[in-house]
């Protein structure tokens, strides 16, 4: 019989039941979804890296490595495998598209996987090209087609034998200025060592890729010993595919720990208040059951079954939502699909997630149990007596003179808030959560907009970036720069404190490149020191005024530099002016020219060119994604807020029903009672906004800090964002309370005043 009662009671409290299930489901969904995201990235990319022999270390030497050099490295204790490797950006003949042409002598390291039909890799193939599947699909290239690429006036032509994906090109970016891959204009291809030799007439491998478990310091020492000089060694932490993947995983972990906590906390707290309310409303029924002779155990089981039902359904729907969310992010056509280029997109859920789900359900049961337990205290006749709320205690403000001047509505609302602290707190919490989510996501958008505006629209003040060959002399390049009225720079890597750090030396006369300080303002490079980007400053613990020593690779020289300022940059680098380089006597090789002109004549010294529009295009996709995310978060926040406010509003309405019908009898108009209800909600809303806005901004700063390993953004919140957030929250609160206040028309004075039965 009690079983039947369970369902009837659910029907009675249907709105509350559904909203609690929805909230639990959203909370669990977000929790499962984000955990699934980072864990799936981790599992899928690890598998992919394993399958394609993603290297752990990369050793560079412009002169090129011989097979003896490779043997030396292979003989190092702790090196599992190694390969000579080459990857150069080539232009596809007749287009502006760029293909990274890669050769791996030992395909077990830095190799690829074949997708679909096509020939397996053949190291002896004279004209075979294994082309990136993404690039082939976007450019409608089929197996058997011939493609020709150009590198420094050398044409390389071959037949597409297979379509592939490679861990080395998991995130396929031409350089660090680009945010997002563009599979249409940039791809990669592998050719055999034999074909390389045939085309060049000699072997050239400026890179050895190593697979090893040694740590960076040991590896560095051992390799320097073998070659008897300082070598450029990059570990995974300096590889875009690996770093961005790890960044994505970290981001997922942050999201999985911040957002679901907010949603679940609101769901559970609402559960507490609603279950308590339910138990109070059912108190006499509990008493009746007790008087009839039901054992406490049975009654407890009956009432606890409500929270079990909420938990089970919430968890079930939550898992479905989680999988949907996971799928939205993790699929070849999903959010990450335009970023990662990998063959497998399986969804995995970390094991601890299941444990936490069980714990959440256990918590719900405990909440249900505790709310009934308190109603069962004492004898059956005690339980039969209706619930009496706690006595009112005077608030501090009542002792002031101000209190007596307040009108009755204010007093009534204030006391009601104090009397139903849990309910008021929950309302406040709901609004708080909603405000935090909205302002943080809008702020995220502002920050990104700001970032993109300043870095891409401002700092990149050139139309074309020319990558100059290593063989060009500085005089030739300076001539090139003056021909195109451009600025030039040298970009290299040096060793500082045993770490490989990017160093850029600029000669700025045409303002084609601008530099950005920590306040996101442009500044001109001074000639008295170097400018260190935030990421490096953090990594090496550098402060303004510090003295650093850097060692260029391949030499025995060292230079002392002074840190002039910490700045924000796109790529992780240290910047100095040409004059400062001269001051410290550092000779560098110019390899970049930035110009405002679009048509650049081919020249033996020009490796390739890159237009600003191709860079801009990549972050359009990125911003599109960002906007979608922000919209989704805001909708989720509003739904959550609406559910919480409506749920608690109805509860408040039920609790004050008798009081309101008394007011109505005394002669208060419906509209007046309605406005009393609305004003209470508006107060709580305003308090929620006052606390929520700064908390949201704080959360934004925290999240951006977490993301700082990838981008150097300054948290920004526009005035418009503040206005929009406040306006949205007040509107939400107003609409919901208007909905509820409309109910005051339906108060039946006659029925409700008949007395307590």
């Amino acid at each position: 019989m009690l079983f039947r009662k369970t369902f009837r009671t659910i029907r009675l409290y249907l709105a509350q039941f559904i909203s609690m299930i929805v909230m639990t489901a959203i909370g669990i969904g977000v929790f499962v979804g984000f955990n699934m995201e980072w864990y799936s990235i981790e599992r899928n990319t690890n598998k992919f890296f394993d399958e394609t022999g993603f290297a752990d270390y990369r050793v560079f030497d412009e002169i090129g490595f011989s097979s003896d050099d490779l043997e030396k490295i292979k003989n190092i204790d702790g090196v599992d495998d190694a390969t000579r490797f080459l990857s150069v950006n080539t232009t596809v003949k007749g287009t502006e598209k760029v293909l990274a042409l890669a050769v791996s002598e030992n395909i077990d390291v830095s190799g690829f996987v074949l997708i679909g039909d096509g020939e397996e890799y053949n190291a002896d193939s004279e004209d075979g090209i294994w082309l990136s599947k993404q690039y082939a699909d976007k450019n409608n290239i089929k197996l058997g087609d011939t493609i020709t690429v150009v590198y420094k006036e050398i044409e390389i032509s071959g037949k597409v034998l297979g379509l592939i994906k490679s861990g080395e090109f998991l995130i396929c970016l031409p350089d660090e200025t680009q945010l997002m891959p563009d599979f249409n204009t940039y791809g990669f291809a592998y050719i055999s060592p034999k074909m390389l030799k045939r085309t060049l007439g000699f072997e050239y491998y400026p890179q050895i890729n190593i697979s090893s478990n040694l740590d960076k310091k040991k590896m560095s020492e051992k390799i320097d010993n073998v070659f008897e000089k300082t070598m450029v060694i990059l570990s995974n932490d300096e590889n875009v595919s690996y770093v961005q993947t790890q960044g994505e995983i970290e981001e997922g972990k942050t999201m999985a720990s911040v957002l679901p906590v907010l949603f679940l906390a609101i769901a559970i707290l609402t559960m507490v208040t609603t279950m308590h309310r339910l138990a109070i409303n059912e108190k006499t029924q509990i008493g009746i059951l007790k008087a009839l002779g039901f054992k406490d155990k049975k009654i407890i089981a009956h009432y606890t079954s409500f929270s079990i039902l909420i938990g089970v359904f919430g968890t079930l729907f939550g898992i479905i939502i989680g999988y949907l969310m996971g799928y939205l992010i993790m699929n070849p056509n999903g959010t990450l699909g335009i970023y990662f280029d990998m063959p497998e997109w399986k969804l995995y859920v970390p094991f601890f997630t299941w444990i936490i789900l069980i714990l959440i359900n256990a918590l719900l049961i405990v909440i249900g149990y505790l709310s009934v337990k308190s109603m069962l205290k004492g004898s059956a006749s005690d339980a039969l007596r209706p619930y009496t709320p706690k006595k009112m205690k005077a608030m501090a403000i009542e002792k002031t003179k101000l209190w007596s001047k307040l009108n009755f509505g204010v007093k009534w609302n204030m006391r009601d808030i104090m009397r139903h602290k849990a309910r008021s707190f929950m309302t406040l919490f709901g609004i708080l959560g909603c405000t935090i989510l909205i302002i943080a996501s809008l702020g995220m958008k502002d920050t990104m907009n700001d970032f993109v505006d300043i870095f891409y629209e401002g700092a990149i003040n050139y139309e074309t970036r020319i990558n100059v060959s290593e063989t060009a002399t500085n005089e030739e390049t300076k001539e090139l720069a003056s021909k195109y009225e451009g600025d030039y720079a040298g970009s290299t890597t040096v060793k500082i404190n045993d770490q490989t750090i990017g160093l850029e030396i600029y000669n700025i006369t045409h303002n084609r490149v601008k530099f950005i300080d920590r306040n996101m303002k442009f500044f001109e490079l001074g000639d008295n020191g170097v400018y260190v980007c935030e990421r490096i400053a953090k990594k090496l613990n550098i402060k303004v005024g510090d003295k650093l020593v850097f060692l260029p690779y391949g030499t025995n020289k060292s230079y002392e530099i002074i840190v002039e300022d910490i700045i924000r940059t796109l790529s992780e680098t240290i910047i100095m002016s040409e004059k400062y380089a001269e001051k410290i006597g550092y000779d560098y090789h110019i390899n970049l020219v930035f110009t405002n002109q679009k048509n650049i004549e081919a020249n033996k010294n020009i490796v390739n060119t890159q237009s600003k529009s191709s860079i801009i295009k990549s972050f359009d996709t990125f911003m599109g994604l960002m906007n979608l995310m922000v919209l989704l978060l805001i909708v989720a926040a509003l739904v959550l807020g609406a559910i919480v406010l409506y749920n608690l509003g109805v509860m408040s309405f039920m609790e004050r029903y008798r009081e309101m019908s008394t007011l109505k009898v005394v002669g208060f108009k419906d509209s007046k009672i309605g406005s009393l209800l609305i004003s209470q909600n508006l107060w709580l809303t305003i308090v929620g906004i006052i606390i929520g806005v700064p908390t949201g901004v704080f959360l934004l700063k925290y999240m951006i800090e977490k993301l700082a390993s990838e981008y150097e953004m300054k948290p920004t919140v526009n005035i418009l964002t503040y206005i929009l957030t406040i306006w949205l929250i007040i509107l939400l609160s107003f609409v919901i309370s208007l909905f509820i206040s409309k109910k005051s028309k339906k108060i039946d004075m006659v029925e409700s005043l008949k007395g307590i039965d």
Binding site: R658, V665, G667, V750, L753
Partner: protein
């Protein structure tokens, strides 16, 4: 002088197929400044009579004229206005706002009544000056009922409607409440206007103090009996 007139008033409640005639073609008149007791068994329609007169509900047919004005066709807002100014209610279970103090419970009518009386004097009138800052839960039943009377009176209404005002009280407290009510008919120092008090009850004893006794049965007026010499509250054996 007539203050209330019912003209062929009927009230039917429909609940699905079931039709309940709570009042069936009732006509009656009530004189100003009188204490009227409406008697009848439960379900007879006496509460319906009170609710219609109090503007809590509208009749299905017929006219109710109060102080020369037909209230049976007023809109919701006009009815609220009517309740705020013309009538005061006293219930068996007091219906005070638990979150407001004695003072606040009474002064809330100041926001809606046009010619309300001074709250503090009202409290003095019902003898609760010592409890002015107490919450309802801190008062006894009789004290709570006195707050409720003070609230009804504070509006300075012409009619006081009481639904079993002593029903939840012990007889001693009940007597005190009745004394207060009968005192109102005679007018007080605060308002020389004489109030019309209508008490709905099934307690036969209360009828002894009434100027007129209306007996209701099955939705009809069974008798309307004027008592020329009502007993004072003290004279009745409780």
């Amino acid at each position: 002088m007539k203050i209330v007139e019912f003209k062929n008033v009927s009230k039917t409640y429909t609940n699905g197929d079931h039709i309940l005639k709570a009042l069936d073609d009732v006509s009656l008149e009530i004189e100003k400044g009188k204490l009227i007791v409406v008697l009848g068994p439960s379900g007879a329609g006496k509460s319906t009579l009170l609710n219609l007169l109090g503007g809590l509900d509208s009749p299905t047919s017929g006219k109710i004229i109060v102080d020369g004005k037909d209230i049976s066709s007023l809109t919701k807002n006009e009815l609220a206005e009517y309740r705020a100014n013309k009538v005061g209610f006293i219930f068996q279970f007091y219906n005070l706002i638990p979150t407001l103090t004695v003072l606040e419970n009474i002064s809330l009518v100041n926001e809606i009544s046009h010619n309300h009386l001074d709250t503090k004097k009202m409290i003095d009138e019902v003898g609760l000056l010592d409890h002015i800052n107490n919450f309802p839960a801190e008062l006894s039943g009789g004290e709570q009922q006195r707050v409720s009377i003070a609230r009804a009176l504070a509006k300075n209404p012409q009619i006081i409607l009481c639904d079993e005002p002593t029903g939840a009280l012990d007889s001693e407290t009940g007597v005190m409440i009745l004394k207060l009510l009968s005192k109102m008919c005679k007018g007080s120092e605060l308002s020389d206007d004489k109030k019309t008090v209508i008490i709905v009850t099934h307690n036969q004893n209360i009828a002894k103090i009434a100027d007129a006794v209306i007996r209701v049965k099955n939705g009809r007026i069974k008798s309307y009996e004027i008592q020329d010499k009502p007993l004072s509250v003290e004279e009745v054996e409780w």
